[in-house]
């Protein structure tokens, strides 16, 4: 058993400890490899890569010894199994990618390895990132390391979902089996699991991180981003992941600032918008109270709360559930049993396609591909797809107008804490409502971050979300760090690798 205190570090602390030679990258990788094994019951990892982690750690130790440390040298991280990793099984948690070993590396993971990071393995997710609970994976559901407090279980101690779709990444970081992880966020898939698992999740501005080599779900909405223990760690990870990539035509040709340097702690005079439309029916009072507490924390730090209106908020989810399935039905057309993945033989090419796709796609993926096909089909294209694209224009306009008045926007991340595995799976729309507060930023392309701010009455983490101007992650992170300092969230899940000490 290696030193469990290594598992209690933040990424920034581990980075500094490696440079000071308090421990080696190999010791760190060994401790985290053991942690990955220890949290196996959570099903957070689809494919651990312990040998690769040790080899990468040895290379990092070699550079550290020469005093040539890279920004993330020796930092063990997890990779959502939606990022293609050269020669390492990449599943998107779908049966249809059965046995797929990409011959290339995604731009974002390549940047992370070029920065010295160490790969612990690939994490579980909702199939093709379609979901808010990480229960639709072909490889089985992920369990949240948090449980309700015993005195509040009232006979219900069922395991909870970690949120989704980046639920494996969120559970791995929360249970201390990775210092950080990559996620992707199409409608909340970084921020909502971060909220459910008590960690930080950042969806950057659209175009900030390249989508090249990330299995596509809905291309105009997909955002790669980091999931970490702290806001500072998110700033460090984002710097390594971001940057213009000629291989992604939507990647923004803008410089990458030193996000960590933006964490000055000074938000005096900053105007923080509080949108009235986020007070939705059925939201627990404790989330409303936490939100108010967040407003007070920012006011106490010298920021100025401003009441604002985002009138189209309630239409963001239905807009999303036209645009995302439409793009998915097009993107997923590539899974045909010819070039990679699963194939079910048939008597004709058509039959081979149909049988392969019937066997390879799970129920939620099938549902979305069918909805997408329908809204794009002749006779319905204008009524559904073009209509949704027009509403999207108005939703983005809401944000642009709001940012004339304020520098960022504070809201809750999700309308509930984590729920039990199996709940909400009967009614797709009940599941979709998880993303009511996160989807607008995807449609508008604005950066947004979730950070843990408090506990629910039954002892589960609750997140607050800050949304910022496009390409102003620096302000977003500065405000988030101030909120993090005020909230002093120090709670641990019921189950962490190395034990709670």
């Amino acid at each position: 058993m290696s030193d469990p205190s290594l598992l209690a570090l933040t990424l920034a602390e581990a980075r500094d400890g490696l440079v000071r030679k308090s421990f080696s990258a190999r010791e760190l990788a060994t401790a985290y490899n053991e942690a990955v094994n220890e949290i196996e019951p959570l099903n957070a990892y689809v494919t651990p890569t312990p040998e690769r982690a040790l080899a990468m750690a040895d290379a990092a130790d070699h550079r550290l010894a020469k005093g040539e440390a890279l920004p993330l040298d020796g930092i063990p991280i997890a990779v959502k199994d939606l990022y293609c990793t050269k020669g390492v099984l990449t599943t998107a948690a779908s049966h249809i990618l059965n046995g797929f070993h990409p011959p290339y590396e995604s731009t974002v993971t390549d940047k992370l390895w070029q920065s010295g990071a160490v790969m612990l393995g690939k994490t579980n997710l909702d199939e093709f990132a379609m979901g808010s609970s990480t229960t639709t994976s072909y490889y089985g559901p992920v369990e949240n390391p948090w449980r309700r407090l015993p005195e509040h279980q009232m006979g219900d101690n069922r395991p909870l979902v970690p949120g989704g779709s980046s639920g494996g990444s969120a559970a791995a970081v929360a249970a201390r089996a990775a210092l950080a992880a990559t996620g992707t966020d199409t409608g909340g898939s970084i921020r909502q699991p971060a909220s459910f698992c008590g960690i930080v999740g950042l969806k950057p501005t659209y175009g900030r991180c390249s989508r090249w080599g990330v299995v596509a779900y809905a291309s105009s909405l997909d955002h790669p981003g980091p999931m970490t223990h702290t806001v500072r760690d998110a700033a460090i990870m984002l710097r390594a992941m971001a940057g213009h990539d000629p291989k992604d035509s939507t990647s923004a040709p803008v410089p990458v600032p030193d996000f960590e340097a933006a964490l000055t702690g000074d938000i005096r005079g900053l105007r923080v918008g509080i949108p009235k439309e986020y007070r939705v029916d059925g939201m627990p009072a404790e989330i409303e109270l936490l939100w108010q507490q967040g407003v007070e924390w920012l006011r106490d730090s010298g920021a100025e709360p401003v009441d604002i209106s985002l009138p189209l908020t309630k239409y963001a989810l239905p807009t999303y559930y036209i645009i995302a399935p439409a793009e998915a039905s097009s993107n997923l057309a590539r899974y045909d049993g010819v070039r990679f993945g699963l194939r079910v033989e048939g008597n004709s090419l058509e039959e081979m396609y149909e049988l392969t796709r019937a066997a390879g796609f799970g129920a939620e993926v099938r549902r979305r591909v069918l909805i997408g096909t329908y809204v794009l089909s002749a006779g319905y294209y204008d009524a559904y797809y073009l209509k949704a694209q027009r509403v999207r224009t108005l939703i983005r306009r809401d944000f642009v107008n709001a940012f004339d008045q304020v520098d960022c926007i504070l809201t809750p991340t999700a309308p509930s804490a984590a729920f039990a595995i199996g709940d909400k799976s009967e009614d797709p729309i009940a599941m979709y409502l998880n993303d009511v507060f996160t989807v607008p930023a995807n449609l508008a392309g604005m950066p947004a971050i979730s950070l843990p701010a408090g506990l629910s009455g039954d002892g589960l983490p609750l997140g607050l979300q800050i949304t910022g101007r496009a390409f102003d992650e620096e302000t977003l992170l500065r405000v988030a760090e101030v909120l993090e300092s005020a909230a002093q969230f120090r709670h641990l899940p019921s189950f962490v690798a190395g034990g709670k000490s």
Partner: protein, 95 residues
């Protein structure tokens, strides 16, 4: 809006997903439920509003028309379920 079994079968054919007869009815009601929920968008006045396909408004970048990589037939075929003599193999499509 109501969605009948024939429409679901038609969509499934367009999407190249084989459905059994028993799957059509439950899917019809699931899809109809979702479609009637998204139809609340009709409450929004979008007259004169341009549709938005992407928030990236840089336009499509051009690159030089030159070979940047290639000659990777083995790597590209490595994941294929069936190959022969450097090609992907599919069921016969020519009568």
């Amino acid at each position: 809006m109501p969605l009948d079994k024939a429409t679901v079968a038609q969509i499934a054919t367009l999407a190249r997903i084989r459905l059994s007869e028993a799957e059509l009815e439950p899917l019809a009601s699931e899809l109809a439920h979702i479609l009637s929920w998204v139809e609340q968008l009709n409450e929004v006045d979008t007259s004169g509003v341009a549709p938005m396909a992407s928030v990236a408004h840089t336009g499509l970048p051009m690159r030089e028309d030159e070979v940047t990589e290639g000659g990777q037939r083995e790597e590209i075929l490595a994941n294929a379920p069936r190959t022969a003599r450097g090609f992907f193999v599919v069921p016969k499509v020519v009568e």
